[in-house]
Symmetry: C2
Subunit: 189 residues, 2 copies
DNA sequence: TTCACACTAGATCAATCGATCGATCTAGAG
DNA sequence: CTCTAGATCGATCGATTGATCTAGTGTGAA
């Protein structure tokens, strides 16, 4: 086996694109197999079932997102500087993880209870990261919200909505929208 | 016919609940028929096809939402007062239209081109309403964003995210979260 | 060489899908 | 009393679904 897990990776990559485009239920295992040129059996061999394939994609993406967000916001600096870095990094990463993010918020209701729980945990981890930073800001007193939790939800709303409406082919550049979104958040808290 | 369109309304109501719970693709026309106790044929008789049923629900809800938002924000007052009223009304209405709103943002990719376009138009109408108000605020000079469009997107992100995470059965009251969300938005702009 | 195992293909399964059919029922118009 | 339009029914269509089964591959260890 010169190229280990090549089929597995190809399946995951094709599935990512198809899930993002047509949704989980809207994509059949035959679509995925056909897109890779492999047979259906590979999906069941490598991922157990259709949901296993989705969860594998979600796991990889969310772990990477959380890790990179932690790294970026763990740099030295004032609480406000670190929080700003967190938001900016989140926006930038979401840009590269458009498809993954779309899957994330799309097909929750078609997952098994275990899959749903895993999905929820990934989202909660991101929320908690924001809550930590917001709590630090609140203790520093530079801030005018009462509940760090609600503030974290509001921020996630703005950030996640951004990857919903932002179109790279539009007239507004990513840097332009990203700066405006960041300022909205910084004023909001 | 003592009760005109009763079957039609019952179908739409059942479909609303099922679509919100399991998604459009995740709900079969058999599920809807079974939930109402009527036969499958009624759906095709009253709505043409499965998508027609969804679009009918979407149309009713979005027209009502837009109308009530216009009414609420057309009251006399300063631009800021009217804008605040708009946001508060939006939050309140979303609370009563939870299911409809969920459908709205869920299954876009499974619609026909015409259905997708209709869906997009409804969302654009809301966006434009916000842009009008934000433009008035910008001209009044009380505001620190550059693009009313981006600001409108940000606000919609916060409002729509609210109906995603807010749980009536949780410990936080609706009034509490609503106030906090509104303040976040008002500071953000 | 032999054996075990990871990997892959293709045929096939029962279940379910959206949609359509002709037939029947009901209510009101003329 | 007849005619018609709309509402509703159960049966059924072909297609597709996720999943499984069998039958091989090729590779590396013993």
């Amino acid at each position: 086996m010169a190229e280990p897990n090549r089929s597995k990776d190809r399946l995951a990559l094709s599935a990512l694109g198809l899930f993002a485009e047509r949704g989980f239920v809207g994509t059949s295992i035959r679509d995925i197999a056909k897109a890779t040129g492999l047979s259906i059996s590979n999906i069941y061999h490598h991922f157990g079932n259709k949901e296993g394939l989705l969860l594998a994609i979600l796991k990889t993406a969310s772990e990477r997102l959380l890790r990179e967000l932690r790294e970026a916001s763990d740099q030295p600096g004032t609480p406000m500087e670190r929080f700003k870095k967190l938001v900016q990094t989140h926006l930038q990463l979401s840009r590269g993880l458009r498809k993954e993010a779309k899957i994330f918020f799309l097909d929750e209701e078609h997952l098994s209870p275990e899959g749903y729980r895993a999905n929820l945990t990934y989202q909660r981890d991101i929320l908690d990261l924001y809550r930590e930073h917001l709590l630090a800001l609140q203790e520093a007193g530079e801030v005018n919200f009462k509940s760090p939790t609600i503030a974290a939800f509001n921020i996630l709303g703005v950030v996640n909505w951004h990857l919903r409406w932002y179109r790279p082919e539009g007239q507004m550049s990513f840097e332009e929208t990203s700066r405006e979104v960041t300022e909205f958040i910084l004023h909001g808290i």
